[in-house]
Amino acid sequence: MNQEQLQTIIFAELKTIAPESDPAELSPDENIREALDIDSYSFLKVLVGLNEQTGVDIPEADYGKLSTLQAMTEYLAARIR
């Protein structure tokens, strides 16, 4: 899976929680939760969705390692099979 495909998955998960948003407009280092108004409970749902779509196990302790688009993409890219 290349970076573009990963971002497509990430955008789709973010759109499920925040359908009114346009995740493609996120800057790579912007805090996703703040930019898209996603509360901590809904952010967990995003992570669960990403796990289902990519097969990458995201322990909840790693929650803080996926706070920006760049971090999220790198985190998943490094672990995806």
């Binding site: 925040a18 359908p19 108004d37 509360d39 409970y41 809904s42 967990l44 909840e60 302790a61 929650y63």
Partner: protein, 587 residues
């Protein structure tokens, strides 16, 4: 399942609790004695929260002690001493005076947890203005409703919030005189001014005018079942409750390092995130960032937090993280953990004991009560799942309504409405502009909380549920009516009924049942569109997270949506007597 009461060994505690003999302290308690422990304004000029929390320390040996330790999102740490806080709040009070903001005028805050909050809060109170915080995750509609209903004169906010939520609404807010931007070094126009510029120009000496303890100090909006949000009015006298709960419940001692995780947009974030710790002269930790398990454990370790006040949603999210994570941190400074927002399930109380080595102490109160009313105490036995015993000075009871005006006080082990005998210092004094709704909250001498509960034979209170349709999600109240009205503004929606669907982490989740207008199809796309529509207008804190399409909504013969029935169906519970219903089938 029944959980055994958990006894404490007081002698083994490193810090001896302030309240050990509950019965005696309760019997001998008087609010007059509490009032005498507070300084009062110099020269007998009354009682002002800002003086008690800030100036009386700043004018004594506490001047250079740290009041607020602020942890920035970027990892930066900045300290504000009691002396700094006095000087900077004086500047803001002078600034308000120079803008000709009159006594009682409302100053609103919409800028999250940043260092400016604290001087602005106390400066507002020093100039005898009224502070009203708004939660940053409110969308434009809740923000506008509250600003308008609260007669906002001044709004302190940031550029992002201003551009997104305020600028489009300005023509609907004729009473709003100035908007002060915390992150703009230049004025935008004659109405939208730079806070840093004004603060730099203001003098740092200010004498607090005489303050009647009954002068309005803080306005907190809370959601009602029907109609607009209610503005609960609190007065300076509330400081007595903040002080005594800081002593007996939070158990603050002078060397404590205290962390309250609540956002100042909610009442816990002001009563216990700003006022109570400073009254006791302790160091109060403020974290700008949102919840994140590892960050939170690191703060507990690095800041050597001793007393921690948090919420069930956060605790339950921490419970989902494997125990190895907290195991990596040294949490040995922590001696006391409190929780508020919704009932804390017994499993969470015991999780604290197992993972943090400390029980979690649940307590109960509301926006209207201004401070903690019923609590589990450091020295007393904890009954997991119980909200605990009433604060000394507070008389609680379980009532049954006999008719519109009269009630019966019940004995133990009877379920009924939780009530408090009126007259404690932090009781709300009004719902702004709504005397009728205020009066409806009382039956004779009793304030009716709207919560159902029971008391056991030993006086411990146990929460049962809400007596009305108000939704409690992640510790805050959402009025179903606000959400329904918003959804009905969407062209596809004919009707909407909104409930709190039980959810194990956040307590309840806002769920909407929607009847579509003819010509619209119930599709996933439309469901997403409605969720986005709600979020855009109401913000993530209020908007529905789930939508179900139905053919019709159950209503009473007078046309009122039976939300209780929607909820019963959602939970597959027996729906009870439906004889007063019309249209009682759903798809």
């Amino acid at each position: 399942m029944f959980f055994q009461p958990i006894k404490k060994n007081i002698k083994s505690m490193a810090v001896q609790p302030n309240l050990t003999d509950y019965t005696t302290i309760r019997a001998e308690f008087s609010w007059e004695a509490v009032r005498r422990e507070l300084s009062g304004l110099p020269g007998g000029q009354g009682l002002n929260i800002a003086y008690e929390a800030v100036d009386r320390h700043a004018e004594g040996p506490g001047q250079n002690r740290i009041a607020i330790r602020f942890l920035g999102k970027d990892g930066g740490v900045s300290d504000l001493s009691y002396g700094d806080l006095r000087d900077r709040s004086n500047r803001f009070a002078n600034l308000l005076r120079s803008l000709k903001v009159d006594k009682g005028d409302r100053v609103f805050w919409l800028a999250g947890r940043i260092p400016d909050l604290y001087p602005i809060f106390f400066g507002t109170l020093k100039n005898l203005n009224v502070f009203c915080p708004l939660f940053a995750a409110f969308g434009p509609e809740p923000v506008q409703q509250r600003l308008e209903r609260g007669n906002a004169r001044i709004l302190v906010t940031n550029r992002k919030q201003y551009t997104k939520k305020i600028a489009p609404l300005l023509n609907r807010l004729p009473e709003l005189r100035y908007i002060l931007l915390v992150d703009s070094t230049e004025d935008i126009n004659e109405q939208v001014l730079s806070l840093p510029r004004l603060m730099a120009e203001a003098a740092d000496m200010f004498t607090i005018p005489p303050t009647d303890p009954e002068d309005m100090a803080i306005l907190h909006f809370t959601s009602g079942t029907t109609g607009l949000p209610k503005g609960a009015v609190h007065v300076h006298n509330a400081v007595q409750t903040h002080f005594i709960t800081g002593r007996y419940v939070l158990d603050l001692h002078q060397d404590d390092i205290y962390w309250c995780t609540a956002d100042p947009g909610w009442v816990t974030g002001t009563s216990y995130g700003i006022i109570a710790p400073l009254l006791h002269g302790v160091i109060s930790i403020v974290d700008e960032a949102d919840f994140e398990p590892e960050r939170w454990y690191r703060i507990l370790q690095e800041q050597k937090v001793t007393v921690w006040y948090t919420a069930p949603t956060a605790i339950r999210m921490l419970m989902r993280v494997p125990e190895e994570l907290p195991g990596k941190f040294d949490l040995s400074s922590l001696r006391l953990v409190h929780s508020v927002g919704e009932p804390l399930n017994p499993e969470a109380v015991l999780w604290g004991q197992k993972v943090l080595g400390l029980l979690i102490h649940d307590n109960w109160w509301q926006t209207e009560t201004g401070g903690i009313m019923i609590a589990n105490y450091a020295a007393l036995e904890v009954r997991p799942g119980s909200m605990g015993l009433p604060l000394p000075g507070i008389e609680a009871a379980i009532l049954t309504h006999l008719d519109a005006e009269s009630v019966r006080v019940e004995e133990s082990d009877v379920e009924g409405e939780l009530a408090l005998r009126r007259g404690w210092p932090s009781m709300f004094r009004a719902y702004l502009h709504d005397e009728e709704r205020y009066q409806k909250c009382f039956a004779g001498e009793w304030y009716l909380t709207g919560d159902l509960a029971r008391r056991d034979a030993d006086g411990y209170y146990w929460f049962i549920g809400r007596a009305d349709d108000i939704i409690k999600t992640a510790g805050h109240m959402v009025g179903p009516f606000e959400v329904e009205s918003c959804l009905m503004e969407h062209p596809a929606v004919a009707e909407a009924g909104v409930i709190g669907k039980p959810e194990s982490t956040i307590g309840e989740l806002v769920k909407a049942f929607v009847v579509l207008k003819a010509g619209y199809k119930a599709t996933d796309e439309l469901s997403h569109e409605l969720i986005g529509f709600g979020r855009g207008r109401l913000g993530s804190a209020v908007a529905p997270k789930e939508i179900d399409f139905v053919d019709n909504l159950p209503k009473t013969r007078s046309g009122k949506i039976m939300r209780r029935l929607l909820k019963a169906r959602e939970l597959n519970l027996p729906v009870g007597d439906t004889s007063t219903l019309e249209g009682s089938t759903t798809s």
